[in-house]
């Protein structure tokens, strides 16, 4: 719920946006949504990669200690 409110507040804050080509209101709306999703996906990927690395390191440490 917190996230939904945060997302809605992002969408509702206003400031002028002018361009010499028509950016399209629909496209302006959807790109905010897609960009937010992408941020989540990219952070999730980073976290997963970090966790995988950590596990790999742990496994390697364990293997090294048993080798000793």
């Amino acid at each position: 719920m917190k996230h939904l409110i945060l997302l809605a507040s992002f969408i509702l804050i206003t400031k002028p946006a002018l361009a010499y080509i028509d950016p399209g209101i629909g496209a302006m709306f959807i790109q905010g949504l897609i960009a937010s999703l992408m941020v989540i996906v990219l952070y999730a990927k980073k976290i997963i990669a970090a966790l995988k690395n950590a596990f790999k390191k742990n496994d390697k440490d364990k293997k090294d200690s048993t080798d000793e």
Partner: protein, 453 residues
């Protein structure tokens, strides 16, 4: 001064040609953004990475804030002439340029596919005035244009039919997303569903809406970068289409024996070497560029554009160019029977093939029978058409007895009593003088070097 017609859309400047050189006029209204482009280091970074066309500041005149001399592109090509991977590379370049711009607190104010050209073997961004100061909270104004100019055509080419890039000829502002959404298969990657289907839905929803454009101020630099990363992954994941085409294995199916093939190579080399100051060659019906490369070997300082109707043959040629980092060859998709027309405002915004041609030599090898027998084009029309393009023409005559012509005649009535070498020469002599003519040993064919009258 010859103002380039297509540059009328941008109020910040325009392009013109003078004494064979290309210049960009930078209007005083673009001062802040131009200074930021230079002072932020963005221009230097893009130039270093060969992503932006090189420009040189010269003494301004006519009230310009800056006057730039722009490196000349050998041949201006358009998205509907690019193979799938060339188009993909152009899209990825635009995203890389936007990413670099974001890192320097700037952004692309447009993302037109026409802002990319192929220069020395690589895609390069040509619009120096496309950069503006980044307002982090504002959405990317060029996002919709990027989807229409790149994402929609590429996904249609990849997932439906590679020939659908021809829609770009009809829609100068890019393929409408509702049309792309209709044409795409039901099952598409989630990213395409978001950027094309949902995008099209919201565009329609807000079409007549009075919602102020300043309402959507929910972006941040992180989000801008994430959007670009998402689009990059989406485009990278689009696979080359795999549909088989008629001419992609042409050289495996040809009736040439080894002697004839070698003799044709030697004659072509000899013809090209006999010409002085050859800078740009056009090869019509070039297939995978085999003979274009033979011509280029004969004149190492020249460049060539290899045109063919077969999308897979052009793709093979493009991938070879890319793999071998060739800087002198540009493979393009073109139907000689229906060459790219002038499109856009006054049919001049994107020029037709003739208007863009500044070739020194035209090659038309093993092509004439396809034009005259398959498409009923009289010799006279062919001669006058080719004479538009270059002072020299190297053309191969394929007689009726040749097995390839017999194949073409197998399923249709022979209504071509005029298709013979004498009539060919008679028609072409109206526009050209014959410099050299040779029988290709080991075949029934002849090769001609013609000079325009």
């Amino acid at each position: 001064m010859n103002k380039i017609f297509s540059s009328f859309r941008d109020p910040c400047g325009y392009i013109y040609e003078e004494n064979g050189k290309i210049y960009r006029y930078v209007a005083p209204s673009y001062k802040q953004d131009y200074d930021k482009l230079i002072n932020s280091g963005l221009y230097a970074e893009l130039i270093k990475n060969n992503r932006l066309i090189k420009t040189k500041e010269i003494t301004p005149k006519n009230g310009a804030y800056k006057l730039l001399e722009v490196e000349k592109i050998d041949f201006i090509s358009y998205p509907y002439e690019w193979s799938f991977n060339a188009y993909k590379d152009a899209a990825l370049l635009t995203l890389k340029v936007q990413k670099s711009a974001l890192m320097h607190n700037m952004t692309l104010k447009d993302a037109s596919a026409y802002n990319v050209q192929f220069h020395n073997g690589n895609p390069v961004f040509i619009d120096t005035l496309s950069f503006e100061n980044l307002d982090e909270k504002a959405p990317w104004a060029a996002y919709k244009q990027f989807c229409q100019h790149f994402l929609a055509p590429l996904s249609l080419m990849s997932l439906k039919d590679v020939r659908l890039s021809c829609l770009m000829k009809q829609y100068i502002d890019g393929i409408p997303l509702d049309l792309a959404s209709e044409l795409l298969p039901f099952n598409i990657p989630f990213g395409l569903w978001l950027n094309i289907r949902l995008n099209a839905y919201f565009q329609k929803k807000y079409e007549t809406s009075q919602t102020p454009k300043n309402r959507f101020q929910n972006m941040s630099k992180t989000k801008h970068l994430a959007l670009i990363e998402g689009l990059t992954q989406l485009i990278k994941n689009l696979k080359s289409p795999t549909r088989e085409t008629t001419w992609e294995n042409y050289y495996d199916l040809t009736n040439y024996n080894k002697t004839a093939f070698k003799n044709k190579e030697n004659l072509l080399t000899q013809y090209i070497k006999s010409l002085k100051n050859v800078k740009l060659i056009a090869d019509f019906g070039a297939n995978n560029g085999y003979f274009t490369n033979i011509a280029l070997k004969a004149t190492p300082n020249a460049k060539a554009v290899a045109f063919d109707i077969d999308v897979n043959a052009v793709e093979k040629n493009y991938m070879e160019v890319k793999k071998n980092q060739k800087t002198n060859l540009l493979p393009l998709v073109l139907d000689v029977l229906n060459p790219s027309p002038g499109i856009g405002w006054d049919n001049r915004e994107r020029e037709d093939l003739k208007a863009r041609a500044d070739f020194d030599v035209i090659m038309a090898l093993a092509l004439i029978h396809h034009l005259s027998i398959s498409a009923n084009i009289p010799f006279d029309y062919l001669a006058s058409y080719f004479a538009n393009f270059a002072p020299y023409l190297i053309i191969e005559f394929v007689p009726k007895d040749d097995s390839q012509v017999q194949k073409l005649l197998a399923s249709r009535a022979d209504i071509f009593p005029w298709y013979c070498e004498d009539e060919f020469e008679k028609a072409f002599k109206k526009y050209y003088t014959i410099v050299q003519k040779d029988k290709i040993k080991g075949s029934l064919r002849s090769l001609y070097l013609l000079k325009r009258k």
